[in-house]
Point group: C2
Chain length 683, copies 2
């Protein structure tokens, strides 16, 4: 008797013998190969498409013949003519294994697809969303064996997909009968699996096979900006990203002024809750318009935010967060209905996942950074700084992780900066100043050219040069210091002191002109003394928070630094270090992680296991409270100066030769570096 044919799947390498005539999809299931299918093998969805290796060659030790699979059939023909199938592809549910064969499962046909992130970052996202689509054929009702249409649908989900004990949202009860009949007793349903405490629930139902996909929003709700990524829940692709200013700004620029507003104004917390929910609704409409999908196809949203934003989003008065002991109403992660939260732009049945908070001042944003950057898995001691209106700071390794939050204010996001704006096309994001001529050049978001490139005016004609964003102002201040335009206390020199007429008088202080677009009807973009002070306050707060965690851990140095920020281009490690934002570290050990909190939100959106994981991680992180820690104030005051880099930054000096020139303004030089000199090694 001839042996059953051998099938080898790539890239998994899983192999085995199956009875001749077994479909590729059935073989994949028998052998535990990750091959997707939404329509359950009916030749409708094409999610199971595979690339068989034909030809008279040997691969993995198997000789593969052209007739190893059954011939192209009518179902495949129909699919190909209606929607098109890539050259060389077969539908796994149709093609039957006849002889030994090697079959490649392309990435898009894997259930647990990996969303490949840029190489620098720590982890890829494995797709395993809480909400998935299922296509089923449902038995018609029988008067003599009565059962509800919903119960027969649940039985079909059990029999055809192994989903046990499925129930449904109330609105589905209304829709199930007409939709089943419209679809001729076939429907696609979106089912939310949720966590351990819930039965799977049908959230949405479409007649027949639903082509439109389902989507999710990963939302980073910051004090100053609300940013969202629109993701395809099937493969995790980011279809669009968008951001809006947080309209709560009108109640207070920083968190504590919003808490004060809630304390002083009865119903003030409700006003702020309404404002932010409205903004999320507008953002939802905008981002789906940009991507060209219907907002009702958004079935999930995940939120990361600091504790005050967390409470205001949920409709909780944040007053307790304004005073010791900074008690949160709830710290655990939450799964809620979008409807309950008045998030009316997405599907009415959409589910919202809110990441857990670590403590009263260390929120779900820090939790999201931990989920994304995984300090608890790090062998070496890593400092992770997520820059926003509050900086979330994590320090630790696999032994222990500490966290704190530091009130940096909105300067790093371009707010409170004279020419500041949020990161958007037209915003200056990179700056260089020639130390000799004191002439700047810059890049704006939307173009890869420097401003001294002849093609630059044409390349930026569409966007214009509109302002300076967070990363731009950080580089500008650091470059100004390196070019000798600032003294260590942060004072901008006059034209006479600095030797450039770009330093112009600005009231009783000076400003440095980066770009003067007024002749073309554009703005004058300067860095003012006020801008420098705002950045100094912000960076001192950031540095002080990091130092506090180092004190707590008893270390005086870290092995590596990860810089993250929700908005704009990535922060330049070199400039961050020149500015004194972060403690000293070898420059090649400082990396930029982009929007780590946003990435954490995307991970939670796309992977239900990560939701359980983050609860575990968060409970192991030890929080340090900056607000009541006297050493925080000490570090803060000491960190105000913008130091000569060579002394405090031994690692930096080799890479970046800093000018030792300066000018004596009679202010600030003394003791500017006192905090650093007082540092002590305690490890």
């Amino acid at each position: 008797m001839a042996q059953d044919p051998l099938v080898v799947f790539t890239p998994s390498g899983k192999r085995g013998r199956v009875a001749p005539g077994t479909t590729v999809l059935a073989a994949a299931r028998q052998l535990g190969v990750d091959l997707d299918s939404v329509c359950g093998g009916r030749g409708i969805c094409s999610k199971c498409q595979v690339a068989p290796a034909y030809g008279e060659f040997s691969k993995h030790g198997v000789t593969v013949a052209g007739d190893a699979l059954s011939p192209w059939n009518a179902v495949e023909e129909r699919y190909d003519s209606k929607r098109g199938l890539k050259e060389g592809r077969r539908l796994g549910c149709q093609a039957q294994i006849v002889k030994d064969v090697v079959i490649d499962v392309p990435p898009e046909s894997q259930v647990h697809k990996q969303v490949v992130r840029k190489a620098a970052t720590a982890r890829d996202i494995v797709m395993d969303p809480a909400t998935k689509l299922y296509y089923v054929e449902v038995e018609e009702p029988d008067m003599h064996e009565p059962s509800g249409d919903l119960e027969r649908l649940a039985r079909a989900l059990h029999d055809q997909w192994g989903l046990a004990d499925v129930t449904a949202d109330l609105h589905i009860l209304r829709e199930v009968q007409p939709v089943l009949r419209k679809g001729g007793w076939t429907v696609t349903v979106a089912v939310h699996r949720g966590s351990h405490d819930h039965r799977p629930r049908i959230m949405e139902i479409w007649p027949g096979f639903h082509e439109g996909g389902i989507y999710g929003l990963a939302i980073d709700l910051g004090s100053t900006t609300v940013a969202a990524h629109l993701c395809d829940l099937a493969d995790g692709r980011v279809l669009a990203s968008a951001g809006v200013m947080n309209p709560q700004i009108r109640f207070g620029e920083d968190l504590m002024s919003r808490v004060s507003y809630a304390m002083m104004n009865p119903g003030g917390d409700r006003e702020m809750t309404t404002a932010v929910r409205d903004a999320i609704n507008r953002l939802t409409v905008e981002i789906t318009e940009e991507a060209g999908i219907a907002p009702a196809l958004i079935m999930e949203a995940s939120f990361v935010c600091n504790p005050v934003m967390h409470h205001l989003l949920l409709g909780i008065d944040p007053v307790e967060l304004g005073q010791a002991p900074f008690a949160l109403a709830t710290a655990d992660s939450l799964t809620l209905n979008a409807r309950e939260m008045d998030l009316t732009a997405m599907n009415d049945a959409a589910r919202v996942f809110v990441l857990p908070c670590i403590a009263g001042h260390v929120g779900a944003d820090a939790a999201a950074v931990a989920l994304s950057e995984e300090p608890h898995k790090s062998e070496d001691l890593v400092l992770i700084v997520d820059v926003g209106t509050n900086a979330e700071i994590l320090l630790g390794n696999r032994e222990r992780v500490l966290a704190c939050s530091s009130p940096t204010g909105p300067a790093f996001e371009g707010a409170q900066i004279s020419a500041g704006q949020r990161a958007a096309p037209g915003a200056i994001e990179r700056v260089e100043i020639d130390p000799a001529t004191k002439t700047p050049r810059f890049k704006v978001i939307g173009s890869d050219l420097w401003s001294d490139d002849p093609a630059f005016p044409e390349a930026t004609a569409a966007t214009g040069i509109t302002g300076i964003c967070g990363s731009g102002i950080i580089e500008a201040v650091a470059e100004m210091r390196m070019a000798g335009l600032l003294d260590p206390s942060g004072l901008i020199g006059s034209a006479a002191q600095t030797g450039t007429d770009r330093c112009v008088a600005d009231g009783r202080t000076h400003a440095y002109v980066l770009h003067d677009g007024r002749a073309e009807g554009g703005p004058l973009i300067s860095v003012t003394q006020g801008d420098i002070r705002a950045i100094q306050l912000a960076k001192s707060a950031l540095y002080a928070g990091a130092r506090l965690l180092m004190d707590e851990l008893g270390v005086d140095a870290v092995d590596r630094v990860v810089l993250a920020g929700a908005f704009g281009a990535h922060i330049s490690p070199k400039h961050a270090m020149v500015l004194g934002m972060i403690p000293d570290a070898p420059l090649d050990k400082v990396s930029s992680a982009g929007n780590a909190a946003g990435t954490g939100a995307r991970i939670a959106l796309c992977n239900v296991t990560a939701r359980a994981e983050i609860e575990q991680i968060v409970r192991r992180i030890h929080k340090v409270e900056t607000a009541v820690e006297p050493r925080f104030q000490e570090h803060f005051v000491a960190a105000n100066a913008i130091p000569h880099a060579t002394a405090p930054f031994p690692h930096l000096s080799a890479a970046v030769p800093l000018p030792r020139v300066g000018f004596n303004t009679g202010a600030g030089d003394d003791g500017a570096d006192g905090g650093r000199r007082r540092r002590r090694r305690r490890a």
Copy 2:
């Protein structure tokens, strides 16, 4: 070493030795004695109060001394002075066991109290509601060990009450912080345990110890009437009962006309849904006003209703129920939020439990009757008839149970009757007609006197005599037949034919005057020929349904009959049998169960285990579809006559001597009993 003291609890008889100084509450818990406590042993709630047996006597073999318990203490003194404690009672959480003692747990101190129903009915309700109150002391927040207030509350519920993994509704997140602080870190919470698929959820929170109790509504949602019982969720007491007309009547008197309305009018189902939900909201306000409690203390509602009302309550278009195969959108029981259903009068977090349906024409009302009357546990063959606009009919025993629904119309509820009204004070509910004089006497709801009692006018002065309710019209028609005022076809004789001037001309037919109150400004209450026809149609439908089930089971007689009806006084078995509403049975085997569906609703409201049980029961009941069964029409036509009782009712003839007189109107006599003559024994 002396032996530990022996404690014997009554009425359970549980006994054991405990360490001296053990509180009675702790001893009860050790020995598995059912002793309640809401405050967890803090001397606040008095739910654990017990009656120790003191004195120099011997009981259960134990000699009990007056000092067997620790002396009356300050906590008991405080409770007694503030709220009073019955003579001889001690607080179980305070009194400590010193010597051998017998302790009686009074019924009100048992967790699983039994609500004693009247002797006739099958089962008592054991209290085990889904929603219960818990008083807890919560740890204050610690800045250095941060956790959310909610998480500390959940931990307290776990530690103090053994409730694991408690979560909370969204609005609790908003309330938890101010309420915890207002209560000085003690709160009472209402927790909903729900079914297997949900974690226990906090639905409501009060500062300190909540004195006000929590309540539930058991709602029998009929086509014609909506009736509710307001129950105390602690002990199951019915505090108030109320009913309103179902406002959907304006869209159609019976179910099929409402289904037609939904078919013919776009949005018609929505109109009807809104109408019935509004009525429930009004009823909620009325019933709580009557009982003097705040509507927001209603935390649960249970619903029984026929399939069309079930769908309209849930917002489901009932169109599929109007045509074969009569598919339900869903048949399973449902636990929903009152808010989702726009039931806005009760607590916003209240949960609604809807009993399961059996089939497209046999609804949750039939399921509730089964839960209450338990035919599946009956040794003998029982026919249970629940009379409403649709009659729910169950036939069976522990071997097998059949069910059907029969469209009786609203006549049995007093609707479509010329002087009909729903059962309310002033309505005629009992009627007797002297066969010799043809003079009636009657009772009205609200008085125990017959109308020929001299004290009757005074006793009914407050209510007046306003109309005739369902049980009254049944008795009136049966009595008219027995008094020779009706021929077997149901025709009312003239004054000449019957010999009484109470039979007056009424258009082309006659009417019998029951009561003429016009002289005192009251109504003229007659039974018209139209009333007789309405009752004949209703009783024929009822009888035909019962016969159909008997055919299905292959029997020609039943062992006993249970008559149930949602509204008004109980139906008189004798009159029901004279009328031919029910098949022949020994009169002493016909009992009246009152509102069995409403009782089923109360059982489901008060006992969470019964909710799981009814799902099991319902799946075992075999449904017979009357609408497509030709024999139903045959039985219906054959049952139209109001028979001479002696021939078809051998059991009845001994008890009720029926007049054999009649009058020949030339109509109806022939074949009036044909249906009965065709009955065949098939068993």
